[in-house]
C-alpha cells in the first residue's frame, strides 16, 4: 500500500487536474446547455490559448499577460467561429454539428502546426511558481498549487457571472427553456454569443496555465477534449456545478488510480462514466430530460 504522503500528493494532483478539467468542461457544458451544440472544437481552442500565450510570453516575458492573451485569443477565435460558421448549424442535426466542429478543430490544429511546426514549444514556470512546497507530509510543486488557486478563482468568476448577474439569469433560463426566454422579449442570441465567447475563453485560459507543466504541441487538445466530455457526462450535461463536481471526481479517479496502476487511470475514468450512465443517466447534478 502507498504511504500517506504519496496518497495525499496524489489527492493534490487530482485536485489540480480536476479543477483544470472543470474549467474546460464548464465552457463545454454551458455551450451545450445554451446552444445545444456539442463543440468538438473546444480542445482546439485550448490549444489556441496555449500557443497565443506562448507567443505573448516570447514577446513580452510576462506570464500574467500571456494568460490574458491565451483567454482573449481563444475567445476571439471562438466568437469568429460562432458567427461565421457554427450558428448556421444550430438548427441542423446533431451529427452535422459534430462534424463541423470536429472539422474546425482539425483545421485549427493544422494551422497551428503550419505556423509553429510540430516541435514542442516551451513556456517556463513563472518565477512566482518556481520551486516546491514542503507541506510536511508531501513535497509538492508550488506552481501546481497556484494552478489550483487560479483555476478556482476563474471558476468563481464564472459562477458570479452565471448566478449573480442579469446575463447569468438569462443564460440559466435559456438552458431551462430557450423558447420561453425568447417569448419574454429577451435577445437570447446575444446572450448565447457571450456564452460561447466565455466558454472559449475558459478553454484558452486553461491552455495557457497548463502550458508550463507540459510541452506545448498542436495535438495537446485532443486528450483534454475527451476527458472534458467525460467530465460533462459525469457532472450532468448543461450543469455548471455538475462540471465542477465532475471535474473534481474525474481528477481524483485519474490520479488515485495512477497511485496503484497508472495504465488503468483512463480506463477507470471511462468505467466511471459508464457506471454513471447506467445508474444516473442525467449525471451527478444534471436534470433529467435536459440532454
Amino acid at each position: 500500500m502507498p504511504g500517506i504522503g504519496l496518497f495525499m500528493s496524489q489527492v493534490f494532483n487530482g485536485l489540480a487536474l480536476g479543477i483544470l478539467l472543470s474549467l474546460i468542461a464548464a465552457g463545454l457544458t454551458i455551450i451545450y446547455g445554451t446552444l445545444g451544440v456539442i463543440n468538438f472544437a473546444h480542445g482546439a481552442l485550448f490549444v489556441v490559448g496555449a500557443y497565443a500565450g506562448f507567443s505573448t510570453y516570447m514577446a513580452s516575458g510576462s506570464f500574467v499577460l500571456s494568460i490574458a492573451a491565451g483567454a482573449v485569443a481563444a475567445m476571439v477565435v471562438g466568437l469568429a467561429l460562432e458567427r461565421g460558421l457554427i450558428r448556421r448549424f444550430y438548427a441542423r442535426p446533431v451529427e452535422d454539428q459534430i462534424l463541423v466542429t470536429f472539422g474546425i478543430s482539425i483545421v485549427l490544429v493544422e494551422i497551428i502546426r503550419g505556423i509553429y511546426g510540430g516541435i514542442g514549444q516551451r513556456v517556463p514556470v513563472p518565477s512566482w511558481g518556481e520551486g516546491v512546497v514542503d507541506m510536511g507530509f508531501v513535497t509538492y510543486p508550488l506552481y501546481r498549487i497556484e494552478i489550483l488557486a487560479i483555476a478556482t478563482a476563474a471558476l468563481g468568476l464564472c459562477w458570479l457571472v452565471l448566478y449573480r448577474t442579469r446575463l447569468g439569469l438569462i443564460v440559466r433560463s435559456g438552458i431551462e427553456d430557450a423558447l420561453m426566454v425568447r417569448l419574454l422579449g429577451i435577445d437570447i442570441q446575444r446572450a448565447f454569443l457571450v456564452v460561447f465567447g466565455v466558454g472559449a475563453a475558459a478553454a484558452g485560459f486553461a491552455g495557457m496555465i497548463y502550458a508550463p507543466i507540459v510541452s506545448i504541441v498542436p495535438d495537446m487538445g485532443f486528450r483534454v477534449l475527451i476527458q472534458s466530455f467525460v467530465v460533462v457526462v459525469l457532472g450532468g450535461v448543461g450543469s455548471f456545478p455538475g462540471a465542477i463536481l465532475g471535474g473534481l471526481v474525474a481528477g481524483q479517479i485519474l490520479s488515485l488510480t495512477s497511485l496503484f496502476n497508472p495504465v488503468y487511470s483512463d480506463v477507470m475514468l471511462f468505467a466511471a462514466m459508464a457506471l454513471i450512465l447506467i445508474v444516473r443517466p442525467q449525471g451527478l447534478l444534471g436534470v433529467e430530460g435536459r440532454a
Binding site: 504511504g3 504522503g5 504519496l6 500528493s9 496524489q10 494532483n13 487536474l17 470536429f102 482539425i106 493544422e110 502546426r113 511546426g117 510540430g118 516541435i119 514542442g120 514549444q121 516551451r122 517556463p124 514556470v125 520551486g131 516546491v132 508531501v138 513535497t139 509538492y140 510543486p141 506552481y143 501546481r144 508550463p212 507543466i213 507540459v214 510541452s215 504541441v217 498542436p218 495535438d219 495537446m220 485532443f222 486528450r223 477534449l225 475527451i226 485519474l254 490520479s255 495512477s258 497511485l259 497508472p262 495504465v263 483512463d266 475514468l269 471511462f270
Partner: protein, 457 residues
C-alpha cells in the same frame, strides 16, 4: 487512452493532409531528357519480384515515406521528411557530394528520377501499414522508409518483407527490429537500445562513479522495454544497482506526477529516462518541477533530437545521452560538413538525428542500387548485405555498413552532455560531444537478439 483514435483520418481514405508528392525542386526543373535510357539498356533482366519491374518501367523510381507527421513523434516525422527531400534533391541533381557515399551516382538512381510519396503514419502501426500498403500497391514504390516508434517500424518491416519491398526504419530504438523481428527486406542504420546502452554505461560510470542507484522511467511499448533491459544490464556491469520498481507508463502520457513522486521517494541517485519525443519532454519538465532533479541526476540514454530546446538548458544541463549525429561534428568530418551545409542551404537551420538518418539512409540505398546495377529487390538486398565490402564514409567518422546477418547498421554515433546555460553561444549550441561511440564495437554479438532471417523471394 488513445485520443488520436478520434480523428476521422486514415491514410487509406485520401487524408485531409493528402499525400504530398514531392520531388526535389531542382529535379522538377530538370528536363526529363536528363534521365537517359542508357542505364536502362545496360540492366540485366531479372524475374518479377515485388514491384519489379513495374515500379521502374518509366523514367522515375518512387519511394514511399511513412512519416509520423502527427502524434507524439510528429516533430521527428517532419524532420525525417526534410532529410528525405534533401537527399532526393541532391541525388536527382547529381550533386557531387552524393558521390562520396554513392560513387556510381550520376543523376537520379540508375538514371531514374527519385520521386517521394508521403503518408502520415500518425505514430500508429495500423496507419503506417495502411500507408505502406497503399504505396506498394498503388504507387508501385521500390522502397518504403520512415519510423520513430519501433512498434511502427516492426509492423512496417513485416508488411514490406511480405511484399518484397525494401524497408528502412529511420529511428527505431528497439533492438528487436534487427533482432527477433529482423526481416530480409528491412535495414536499420541508426543506433538502438543495445548499442546506446553499451556505449553510454561506461561513460556514466566514469562521470558518476560505480556506486550509483538507478531508477528507470519506461514507456510501455517495445522500445521502452528493450532499452530498459539493456541499460539495466550494462549499468549493473559497471557496478550500479537498479531499484526494482521501474516506473512504466503508457506511451503519450502527459501527467507524470505519480511516477515522479515514486521516483522522488525511491532513494535513487540517478533517473534513467527512457522516454522519447513529447513524452521525454513532459517527463523531464515534470521531474524538474517535482524537485526530483535537485537530489538526482538524469540520463536520457536515447536522447530525442529536439528534446534539448523543448525542455530547455536549465533542465538539460549535465544530462548525458546518445544521439546518432550532432551537427558540431561537421567541424572535423567532411561527410558531416557536406550534409550540414546542404541542409542549411535548403532549410536555413542545423539538422538533427531524424533529418540525418533519412538523408544517409537514402544515399546508402541509392548506392546499393547503383552497385547492384538493378532495382530488383533481392539484388538490392544482396548489395546492402555486401556493404561490409563497400563501406562508406560516415558523418560521425569511420565508415558505415549494414551487417549481413541481421541488417543492423554499423555506424558511429555520439554521446553528448547538455551544456550549461552560460556556455551556450547560440540556439543550436546545446550539447558537448563527450565521445563518439564505435559503431562496430557496440553492436550486439550476431544472433544475440534472436534474428532468424526470412527468404529473399
Amino acid at each position: 487512452m488513445k485520443h488520436r483514435n478520434l480523428r476521422i483520418e486514415t491514410p487509406h481514405s485520401a487524408p485531409r493532409r493528402g499525400f504530398l508528392r514531392t520531388a526535389g525542386a531542382a529535379a522538377a526543373l530538370a528536363a526529363p531528357a536528363l534521365y537517359g535510357t542508357s542505364a536502362l539498356a545496360q540492366q540485366k533482366q531479372y524475374p518479377k519480384l515485388g514491384n519489379y519491374p513495374d515500379g521502374v518501367s518509366g523514367d522515375t523510381v518512387t519511394a514511399g515515406l511513412t512519416l509520423d507527421l502527427t502524434g507524439p513523434y510528429s516533430a521527428e516525422g517532419n524532420g525525417q521528411k526534410r532529410g528525405f527531400e534533401l537527399a532526393a534533391e541532391m541525388i536527382n541533381k547529381g550533386d557531387p557530394r552524393v558521390r562520396k557515399i554513392s560513387p556510381l551516382t550520376k543523376e537520379g538512381i540508375l538514371g531514374k528520377k527519385l520521386v517521394l510519396v508521403v503518408g502520415d503514419a500518425e505514430t500508429r502501426p495500423n496507419s503506417a501499414v495502411q500507408a505502406a500498403t497503399r504505396f506498394i500497391r498503388q504507387d508501385k514504390v521500390m522502397m518504403v522508409a520512415g519510423s520513430v516508434s519501433s512498434s511502427v517500424a516492426i509492423a512496417l518491416q513485416n508488411t514490406c518483407d511480405r511484399a518484397k519491398t525494401l524497408y528502412f526504419p529511420i529511428i527505431s530504438g528497439s533492438s528487436d527490429t534487427t533482432g527477433k523481428d529482423c526481416r530480409r527486406y528491412g535495414f536499420r542504420l541508426c543506433h538502438h537500445a543495445y548499442t546506446a546502452s553499451k556505449a553510454i554505461a561506461p561513460v556514466l560510470a566514469q562521470a558518476y562513479g560505480k556506486n550509483m542507484k538507478a531508477i528507470h522511467l519506461v514507456p510501455d511499448y517495445n522500445y521502452g522495454h528493450s532499452i530498459h533491459e539493456f541499460m539495466k544490464k550494462f549499468t549493473e556491469e559497471q557496478g550500479w544497482t537498479t531499484i526494482d520498481t521501474p516506473q512504466i507508463h503508457p506511451l503519450g502520457a502527459t501527467d507524470y506526477s505519480a511516477y515522479m513522486l515514486n521516483i522522488a521517494n525511491s532513494g535513487a541517485d540517478i533517473l534513467i529516462n527512457h522516454d522519447y519525443g513529447a513524452d521525454a519532454v513532459n517527463s523531464a519538465k515534470q521531474a524538474f518541477q517535482f524537485g526530483v532533479l535537485k537530489n538526482m541526476k538524469m540520463c536520457v540514454p536515447y536522447m530525442p533530437a529536439y528534446m534539448l530546446e523543448e525542455v530547455g538548458p536549465e533542465i538539460m544541463e549535465g544530462v548525458y545521452g546518445t544521439m546518432v549525429f550532432w551537427h558540431a561534428y561537421s567541424e572535423q568530418n567532411e561527410i558531416a560538413r557536406d550534409f550540414v551545409e546542404a541542409y542549411e542551404a535548403k532549410y536555413g537551420a542545423k539538422p538533427r538525428d531524424p533529418e540525418h538518418n533519412a538523408y544517409m539512409t537514402t544515399l546508402l540505398w541509392a548506392d546499393a542500387i547503383e552497385r547492384a546495377g538493378t532495382f530488383h529487390p533481392a539484388e538490392v538486398v544482396k548489395a546492402l548485405e555486401d556493404s561490409i565490402n563497400h563501406k562508406r564514409p560516415y558523418t560521425m567518422g569511420g565508415e558505415a555498413y549494414f551487417r549481413a546477418e541481421d541488417h543492423d547498421g554499423a555506424a558511429n554515433f555520439t554521446i553528448v552532455r547538455g551544456k550549461k546555460p552560460s556556455e551556450i553561444k547560440d540556439k543550436d549550441d546545446l550539447v558537448d560531444i563527450v565521445a563518439v561511440a564505435d559503431g562496430v564495437a557496440t553492436l550486439p554479438p550476431v544472433g544475440y537478439a534472436g534474428c532468424q532471417m526470412t527468404d529473399y523471394t
